[in-house]
């Protein structure tokens, strides 16, 4: 038994900013390890996983469709003047396909999901934390981490790659509309030209990035929400920081993955 006054919590000096940052990183690391340790072991929360896939995937479709379609169309329109200077407007389908698949679709989907899904996860779990709903799960002999965190992280990791390919497809439709109106290119010729320019590595790289983005959005949103405090202010902070941190990490991951996959490309 410790004597009164010997409690380290009382005697220890408050750690500095750098130390706190490393402590947070360590905490996040533990959070991720816990996800891998508990997320794939029975009992499985299959129903909640499907529910979360529906929330993250299906409910983002309208926003993703609109953004993807407009991006494809505008990108095509903006690229035309540069290509037409060299008489290379026939390269438009290839250019749009490569740009969409390699970067635009994963990045757009990641950023939209970080805003829509990340904030929603952060706010939902944050609100459950401050209203003691997570504690209520704990005391009813349920593992809230497995039910709330594992399912959401897994759902984001599964659905963001699917949404990414959906964004690329919708973006291509936007580009097709623009090309058809301006150049009179047929759909068959457009898709033949664009698909010829896509390599297997593009698909692998895009899938890999989307998986990483999805995982990041899930982990950041869940971590911020699950560990939120300070009442309603904490809920707002959890939602906000889920978006800001996830977006920052997505850009960082994009830069790293572009560098990494360019090692495997001949051009």
């Amino acid at each position: 038994m410790k004597k009164r006054g010997s409690n380290p919590a009382k005697t220890a000096k408050r750690p500095g900013k750098i130390t706190r940052m490393f402590l947070t990183l360590f905490d996040v690391g533990q959070f991720i390890v816990r996800f891998f340790k508990e997320g794939f072991l029975p009992p499985y929360e299959g129903r909640e996983l499907i529910n979360q896939c529906y929330n993250i995937g299906y409910r983002s479709l309208l926003l993703i469709s609109t953004t993807g379609f407009i991006t494809g169309m505008v990108f095509t329109k903006q690229s035309r003047p540069s290509l037409s200077e060299f008489g290379a407007t026939s390269w438009l389908p290839s250019l749009v396909a490569i740009a969409l698949l390699r970067t635009l679709a994963p990045l757009l989907t990641g950023l939209i999901a970080a805003g829509k899904v990340g904030s929603s996860i952060g706010a939902e779990l944050g609100s459950m934390r401050v209203t003691e709903q997570i504690d209520a799960m704990e005391v009813s002999a349920t593992n809230p981490f497995k039910f709330l965190v594992s399912t959401r992280v897994l759902a984001a990791t599964i659905t963001i790659p699917i949404l990414t390919f959906y964004t690329a497809m919708v973006g291509m439709l936007g580009a097709l509309l623009n090309v058809t109106v301006n150049e009179g290119t047929s759909a068959a010729a457009f898709f033949q030209s664009s698909l010829e320019s896509i390599t297997f590595l593009d698909i692998i790289a895009s899938t890999f990035k989307a998986i990483i983005f999805g995982f990041t959005i899930g982990v950041v949103g869940c971590y911020q929400g699950y560990n939120s405090s300070k009442g309603t202010e904490g809920v707002g902070k959890a939602a906000n920081s889920s978006v800001v941190i996830a977006m920052f990490l997505i850009f960082l991951e994009e830069v790293i993955s572009v560098q990494f996959f360019s090692l495997f490309r001949s051009v």
Binding site: R4, N7, A9, K10, T131, E132, A136, E138, V139, S140
Partner: protein, 257 residues
């Protein structure tokens, strides 16, 4: 205000706390606390807000860790058992939260089914329905089965919170401020419900409150927590006949208020 009858309970201890200390930063919340809960009794822990009453019961279910001291619940040292053992122990210890903590995205039925299906994976739909209907009938809210928590009154939410806890048939019930924020009539209903739970489900309970009416109505024994320590324990009359000025002040303040 009817005082609850004092019964001679078995001396079997279901909870035993010895020399418990808990602090948050520089603030000592619990200082060398000793407490026992005997099988079948309702123990009321009285005290002002911020004296560590809720902290005490959160330590009992492992939601908070003690700084030092021994906390034994149903023969298990709460801070020394594995997470798996803790989950098994939590099946036997029900916790009713101050704000009910109902899952607000689920209906009343789903709230009640939630702990049931997660702890009895093989339960059939018929058994599940029967358990939910029985427990709702026990708390007098059968009609609320398909309502959302946001559609319920404060008293109804408390009852559903208690029902969700009782559905796992715990041996011990922990009530955190069961009458806080309720009107006097609803408080009386909740007091009756706590007594009914003790009789019908044969639970041993700790009731955390600062409401003397509730303490007198439900407590077989009262323990007064002041400045992080138990100032006195006993029946309602014994506690408030105590010579400690702080205890008298608490009593006077409650009734003047």
């Amino acid at each position: 205000m009817q005082q609850k009858a004092v019964t001679d309970f078995s001396k079997e201890r279901v909870i035993e706390i010895k020399h418990l200390n808990k602090s948050f930063g520089p603030l000592d919340v619990l200082k060398q606390v000793d407490l026992e809960l005997y099988k079948g009794e309702n123990l009321v822990v009285l005290g002002k807000s911020g004296t560590g009453k809720s902290v005490l019961i959160k330590i009992l279910v492992g939601l908070l860790k003690p700084d030092s001291g021994s906390v034994v619940v149903l023969g298990k040292k709460v801070d020394q058992i594995s997470y798996k053992e803790l989950l098994a122990l939590r099946l036997k210890v029900g916790f009713s939260f101050q704000n009910s903590a109902l899952y607000d995205s689920m209906t009343v039925r789903e709230n009640l089914e939630f702990p049931l299906v997660r702890n009895q994976r093989s339960i059939s739909k018929a058994e599940k329905n029967k358990a939910v209907e029985e427990i709702l009938e026990a708390v007098g809210l059968s009609q609320a089965i398909n309502q959302m928590p946001s559609e319920l009154s404060g008293g109804q939410r408390k009852r559903i919170g208690i029902a969700r806890t009782l559905i796992l048939q715990p041996e011990i019930m922990l009530y955190d401020e069961p009458t806080a924020g309720l009107d006097p009539i609803t408080c009386l209903d909740i007091n009756s419900l706590i007594n009914e739970v003790q009789e019908r489900f044969h639970t041993s309970s700790i009731v955390i409150t600062h409401d003397l009416t509730c303490a007198k109505a439900v407590g077989n024994r009262i323990a007064m927590l002041l400045d992080g320590k138990f100032a006195c324990q006993g029946t309602f009359d014994e506690v408030f006949g105590h010579k400690d000025e702080r205890v008298k002040a608490f009593y006077d303040y409650n009734f003047i208020e």
